[in-house]
C-alpha cells in the first residue's frame, strides 16, 4: 500500500512535532542519567505532576499554559532540587539498585497522590488557539504543536549553552565526567546533583505546559511517555543534550511513518526495533561517549 507524497510529508512533519516534545521529556532524563548515572523511574510521574500543575494554573488562576511555563519551570526546578537533595540522595546513598527502588517508590507516591487529589477523571482544558492549524504547503499542522516544536528547540539550545558556557554547566560536566576529581577541586557534588535533577524536572514542567493545550491530564498520563523517553535517551546517547533532541525527532518520525504503514498499534514496534538495531550496532547511542 503506497501513500501519496503529501501524506508522507505530513506524517513526517507530524512526527517531527511529536518528536520534539518527546525530546524535551527525554532531555531531563538524559541529563539526570549522564550526571547522576541513575535511571529515574519517577520521570513519568513527575511529568504527570507537572501537567496537573499546568492544569491548575489554568483552571484556578486563569494562566495560559504558555505563560505559566516559565514560573512552572522555576517551581519544578526547586521541587526537583529538593527531591534529589532530600529524598533520593540520602535514601539511596549512591547505590544503583537503591536509586531504582527510591525512584520507583516516588513514582508510586506521586501518581497516587494525584489520584487521591484529583480523582481518576481524565481532564482537559479548552483554549481558543488550541484548534488553530497552519497550512504548510499541502499539509495542515497544529498550531500548539508548532509552538511546542519551537519552544523545544529553544530550550535545547539554552540548555546546551548552559552546559558549555556557564560555570554551573562546567561543574555539571565535571561531576559527570569525574566525580571524585570534581569534589577534590571544591565542587559541591551533592549540590550539583540536585541542580541537575532540578533542571531535568524543569524541562518536564515546560514539556507539560507545551503538551497540555493539545493533550489531557490524568493520574497516569506521564507513563505513556516514559518508555519512549528512555528509548530516546539511550538512542541519543546518555548525557547528550543534542542526542536527546535529535533522538526525539528521529523517534517521532519513525513512530509516525511506521504507524502509517503498520497501523498505530503494530507500528509501536517500529520504535523498539530501531532502538534495538541502533544499540546492537552502536552500543553507546548516536552521540554518547564511548564507554
Amino acid at each position: 500500500m503506497g501513500f501519496p507524497p503529501e501524506i508522507l510529508l505530513e506524517a513526517a512533519l507530524n512526527g517531527l512535532l511529536t518528536g520534539a516534545v518527546y525530546g524535551l521529556v527525554a532531555l531531563g532524563l538524559t541529563l539526570v542519567y549522564g550526571v547522576l548515572h541513575i535511571i529515574n523511574f519517577a520521570h513519568g510521574a513527575l511529568l504527570t505532576a507537572a501537567m496537573y500543575a499546568a492544569y491548575v494554573a489554568r483552571t484556578a488562576f486563569g494562566l495560559d499554559p504558555y505563560v505559566a511555563a516559565l514560573p512552572l519551570a522555576g517551581l519544578f526546578f526547586l521541587l526537583g532540587y529538593a527531591v534529589q537533595r532530600l529524598v533520593i540522595g540520602p535514601a539511596s546513598r549512591g547505590r544503583d539498585e537503591n536509586i531504582l527502588l527510591v525512584t520507583l517508590g516516588l513514582s508510586i507516591i506521586i501518581e497516587n497522590t494525584m489520584l487521591a487529589l484529583f480523582r481518576s477523571d481524565t481532564r482537559s482544558i479548552d483554549l481558543p488557539y488550541a484548534m488553530e492549524v497552519v497550512a504548510f504547503g499541502p499539509t495542515l499542522l497544529s498550531w500548539p504543536r508548532l509552538v511546542g516544536f519551537g519552544a523545544t528547540i529553544l530550550v535545547a539550545l539554552l540548555l546546551f549553552l548552559l552546559m558549555s558556557a556557564t560555570a554551573t554547566g562546567k561543574a555539571i560536566r565535571a561531576v559527570a565526567k569525574e566525580r571524585t576529581g570534581a569534589a577534590l577541586v571544591g565542587i559541591d557534588v551533592a549540590h550539583i546533583y540536585a541542580v541537575t535533577f532540578g533542571i531535568g524536572t524543569a524541562c518536564l514542567a515546560i514539556a507539560a505546559a507545551l503538551l497540555l493545550p493539545s493533550f489531557y491530564v490524568s493520574p497516569r498520563v506521564g507513563n505513556a511517555f516514559v518508555l519512549v523517553a528512555f528509548t530516546i535517551v539511550v538512542l541519543g546517547g546518555m548525557g547528550s543534550v543534542i542526542g536527546a533532541l535529535l533522538g526525539g525527532l528521529i523517534i517521532g518520525v519513525v513512530e509516525s511513518l511506521s504507524g502509517l504503514y503498520l497501523g498505530d498499534s503494530l507500528g509501536q514496534i517500529g520504535i523498539f526495533l530501531i532502538f534495538i538495531l541502533v544499540l546492537l550496532v552502536r552500543p553507546t547511542g548516536l552521540f554518547g561517549a564511548r564507554a
Binding site: A11, M131, S214, Y216, D264
Partner: protein, 403 residues
C-alpha cells in the same frame, strides 16, 4: 459509612426494643453483605470509580427503602474491594469477600478481571454478577455462578452493525465508505474484525482499518489518514482519552464526515466529554450501554450524580442495575443463601423492573441476560439522547451530518 449507619440504627432499634418486645426481634436482623469489586486504582481507575458510584447509589436506595423485605428488612452492607486494575488483584479481593461471608459479588469492569474473579468465586459457588466486561468467554465457561446483566461482545457488535444499517437505510443510504478506528484491545480488535467481514455484505466499503494503542500519545496521523480518504462514515471504538484526542484533532483539521458512529466508545456517551468539548462532541453517535431515558428513576439518579459534581457515565446505570438485580433475587430467594441466590438469579424474568437499562424482560441463559442490548445515542444540543431503537428513543437521529 454503612457500618456507622447500622450501628446507629441498631442502637435506635435496640432502644425501641427495650420498650416493645416485637421491635427487639427486628433489631437483630443481620445485614446482608454484598461484595463490590471495582478497579479504583491503576489504569482503570476512572471506570472503577464510577462503577462503585453506581453500586453505592443502589445500595443506599435499597437501605433507605427498608432493606430486603424478604429477609426481615435486612440492610445491605457493602464489602468493597479494589481490584487494582489487574486480575490478581481481583482474585485476592474475591477471596477476602468470601472470607467476610458475602452473599454475592458484583463488578469487575474489565474482562480479564471478571474472568479471573468470577472463576475464583466459582470455587465457593459464590454468585458473581459482571457489570461491564463484554468478553463472550465470561459466560461460556459453564460456570453456574456467573451472571451478566448487560450485553456481551457478540450482541454489542451485531447490534451496532444492524443499527448502523437501519439508520443508514432510514436516512436514504447517504453513507457508503467507512474508516474504522479502534483500540487494539479485546473489544476494538474483535469489533474491527466483525465489521470488516460484515460491512461489505451490507453495501458498505471499508476504506481503511486503523488500530491504535491505549494510551496513544498522538492521533494526528489517524486524523491525517481520515482526511485523505474522505470517508462518509468514521467508526471509532476507543477509550475516553484517545477519542477525545481524535475528535479534537478532527475538529482542528476541519474533518467532517457525514457521521461519526462510535461503538462502545469511552467518550461519546460520557457527559464530561460533552461538557468540555461541545463542538467536537456535537452529533457524535454511539452504540453503547446506556440507561433507559423513559424511566423516571434514570433522571432522578442522574440529578443525584450531577449534584455531587460527578458525570453521568454508563458504568453507573449498569452497576446500579446489577445491584438491584441481586436485591431482587434475594427477595425471591427468601434467604441469604448462595445456592438459593444463584437459583433465583437464573430464574429472573420480566417481573424484575427495578433496573434502569433499556432492556426487554430479563431472561438468563448460561448466565447471560438475553434481553441485554446496547442502544444508539447521539450528542444533541449538549445532551446525550437515545436515537434508536424507537421504543427507547427520546430524540430523532440527525444523520447525515451536513455542513
Amino acid at each position: 459509612m454503612a457500618k456507622f449507619e447500622i450501628g446507629r440504627r441498631g442502637a435506635m432499634l435496640a432502644t425501641a426494643g427495650v420498650l416493645a418486645a416485637p421491635g427487639l426481634a427486628r433489631a437483630q436482623v443481620p445485614a446482608v453483605r454484598l461484595g463490590i469489586l471495582q478497579p479504583v486504582t491503576g489504569a482503570l481507575s476512572q471506570d472503577g470509580e464510577y462503577g462503585r458510584l453506581g453500586a453505592e447509589l443502589a445500595i443506599n436506595e435499597i437501605n433507605a427503602g427498608g432493606g430486603i423485605r424478604a429477609l426481615g428488612g435486612a440492610r445491605i452492607e457493602m464489602v468493597f474491594g479494589d481490584a487494582r486494575s489487574n486480575p490478581e488483584g481481583g482474585v485476592a479481593e474475591v477471596e477476602k469477600m468470601q472470607a467476610e461471608g458475602v452473599v454475592a459479588v458484583v463488578g469487575g469492569f474489565a474482562s480479564p478481571i471478571c474472568l479471573a474473579a468470577s472463576q475464583a468465586a466459582a470455587r465457593y459457588d459464590l454468585p458473581y454478577v459482571v457489570d461491564v466486561g463484554v468478553s463472550d468467554q465470561i459466560v461460556s465457561r459453564g460456570l453456574a455462578n456467573t451472571f451478566r446483566f448487560g450485553p456481551g461482545f457478540g450482541v454489542v457488535t451485531t447490534t451496532a452493525l444492524d443499527n448502523l444499517v437501519a439508520l443508514n437505510d432510514a436516512a436514504g443510504k447517504p453513507a457508503r465508505t467507512v474508516v474504522i478506528v479502534h483500540e487494539d484491545g479485546l473489544f476494538g480488535s474483535g469489533m474491527a474484525r466483525l465489521l470488516n467481514a460484515e460491512l461489505p455484505k451490507r453495501g458498505f466499503e471499508v476504506l481503511e482499518t486503523i488500530a491504535h494503542p491505549t494510551p496513544a500519545r498522538d492521533m494526528n496521523n489517524v486524523a491525517l489518514r481520515i482526511r485523505s480518504l474522505r470517508p462518509d462514515l468514521v467508526i471509532p471504538s476507543s477509550y475516553y482519552a484517545e477519542f477525545v484526542l481524535l475528535s479534537r484533532t478532527m475538529q482542528q483539521q476541519r474533518i467532517r464526515p457525514k457521521g461519526i458512529y462510535c461503538v462502545l466508545n469511552g467518550a461519546a456517551s460520557n457527559f464530561r466529554f460533552v461538557r468540555e468539548f461541545p463542538e467536537a462532541a456535537n452529533l457524535v453517535m454511539d452504540c453503547n450501554h446506556w440507561a433507559d431515558p423513559r424511566k423516571p428513576k434514570t433522571q432522578e439518579l442522574r440529578r443525584q450524580v450531577e449534584a455531587q459534581n460527578r458525570f453521568w457515565l454508563y458504568n453507573i446505570p449498569l452497576n446500579y442495575s446489577a445491584v438491584m438485580l441481586v436485591a431482587d433475587a434475594l427477595e425471591r430467594a427468601g434467604r441469604a443463601d448462595r445456592a438459593a441466590l444463584i437459583q433465583a438469579l437464573a430464574a429472573t424474568d420480566g417481573a424484575f423492573t427495578r433496573h434502569i437499562m433499556p432492556y426487554g424482560p430479563t431472561r438468563f441463559v448460561n448466565g447471560q441476560n438475553q434481553a441485554a442490548v446496547p442502544v444508539n445515542t447521539q450528542v444533541q444540543n449538549g445532551d446525550i439522547k437515545v436515537i434508536f431503537p424507537r421504543e427507547f428513543a427520546d430524540a430523532q437521529p440527525v444523520f447525515p451530518v451536513t455542513g
